[in-house]
């Protein structure tokens, strides 16, 4: 459909309006129109036309800066990411349930996980994906070193920290294969930056 699906130069699917920074991003307008129709609940020509009009008006009234997000949509990768997240949510949920009803106190830990990709979008998407899975919550993100700091609920087990770190990296890889550019995927395919896990200074 557009450059979203392939590695092509960004903004090959946008219209420049006038001389200023006003750029009509066609994928964004399509997405806003879809939301408009879903919120109305009925698909009709009237809703479709109104949706396009409202989307164009919103884009003109509140112009977004022309930033190349580096977003690609890879349907197969998105399916795999979704399946993995669902599986992870269920299996971690069982673990958290066990911790909720455990009698003896557990010990939490804050673990640094350096990521391999450097793009802002990959960092954000990985953090959001990890945050939605029970058992690890993100308390800090360092953009310069692309490090996320994870609060692990039950760190008594020596393998827990390692497995939390592995799971973040697995999520990162799947996120890059779902939304990343070819460069992101190449970065993620490399081995983990430091197996020891000490945060780089």
């Amino acid at each position: 459909m557009s450059n979203l699906f392939r590695d092509r130069s960004p903004y090959s699917w946008s219209l420049r309006v006038g001389t200023g920074r006003r750029v009509l991003d066609l994928p964004l307008i399509a997405w806003l129109t879809v939301i408009w129709n879903l919120l109305w609940g009925t698909l009709s020509w009237g809703n479709l036309v109104n949706g396009v009009l409202v989307a164009v008006a919103v884009c003109l009234a509140f112009p977004l800066p022309a930033v190349d997000l580096g977003l690609r949509l890879r349907p197969l990768g998105i399916l795999r990411l979704g399946a993995y997240l669902l599986y992870d949510m269920f299996s971690s949920s069982v673990q958290v349930t066990r911790q909720i009803f455990a009698d003896d106190p557990y010990h939490a830990a804050v673990v640094a996980v350096p990521l391999r990709s450097r793009s802002d979008l990959m960092l954000t998407a990985t953090a959001v994906a990890v945050s939605n899975v029970p058992g690890g919550s993100i308390i800090e993100v360092r953009r310069a070193t692309a490090t996320v700091f994870l609060h692990v609920l039950d760190a008594d087990d020596p393998g827990a920290i390692d497995s939390a770190r592995r799971s973040v990296r697995r999520t990162e890889e799947l996120v890059a294969r779902a939304f990343g550019t070819a460069e992101d995927i190449a970065r993620v395919a490399r081995p983990a930056p430091d197996p020891e896990g000490d945060p780089s200074p």
């Binding site: 949510m89 010990h107 939490a108 673990v111 959001v128 945050s131 899975v133 029970p134 919550s137 308390i139």
Partner: protein
């Protein structure tokens, strides 16, 4: 006649599965509340307050979808799931971040803390 029976059977099965998923989703959200009550400190509680609800909501939405079985309604439900998935982490991150920075990491302390040295470095500069 047979075809109508088969359609009815499928509809009934979908209704039943939907009801089961709704119940499962409610149970999952209840677990989150129990976790809120049982966990001692803010950071642990934020685990229980956000994530079981996300999964619970997904299950409830799936249950509702199985009972509604209508194209555009499924789209609206998917939209709810999408925005829940996108906005939940922002709120939970802000709570966790401020809890950590005000030292509310629990009375038993952390077994290991990779973040503290980095924050201390910044203060020293």
């Amino acid at each position: 006649m047979n075809a109508v029976d088969a359609v009815n059977a499928w509809a009934e099965a979908a209704d039943l599965a939907g009801a089961f998923l709704l119940l499962l989703g409610c149970f999952q959200s209840l677990l989150g509340v129990i976790g809120m009550l049982r966990f001692p400190d803010v950071l642990s509680r934020s685990h229980a307050a956000t994530k079981p609800q996300t999964l619970g909501l997904l299950l409830v939405l799936a249950g509702v979808a199985l009972r509604l079985r209508d194209g555009i309604d499924l789209g609206t439900l998917a939209l709810i799931a999408f925005f829940q998935f996108l906005t939940g982490p922002v709120a939970s991150h802000l709570v966790a971040r401020s809890a950590y920075r005000t030292g509310q990491t629990g009375s038993r302390g952390l077994l290991r803390d990779d973040l503290d040295p980095q924050l201390s470095d910044e203060d020293g500069r």
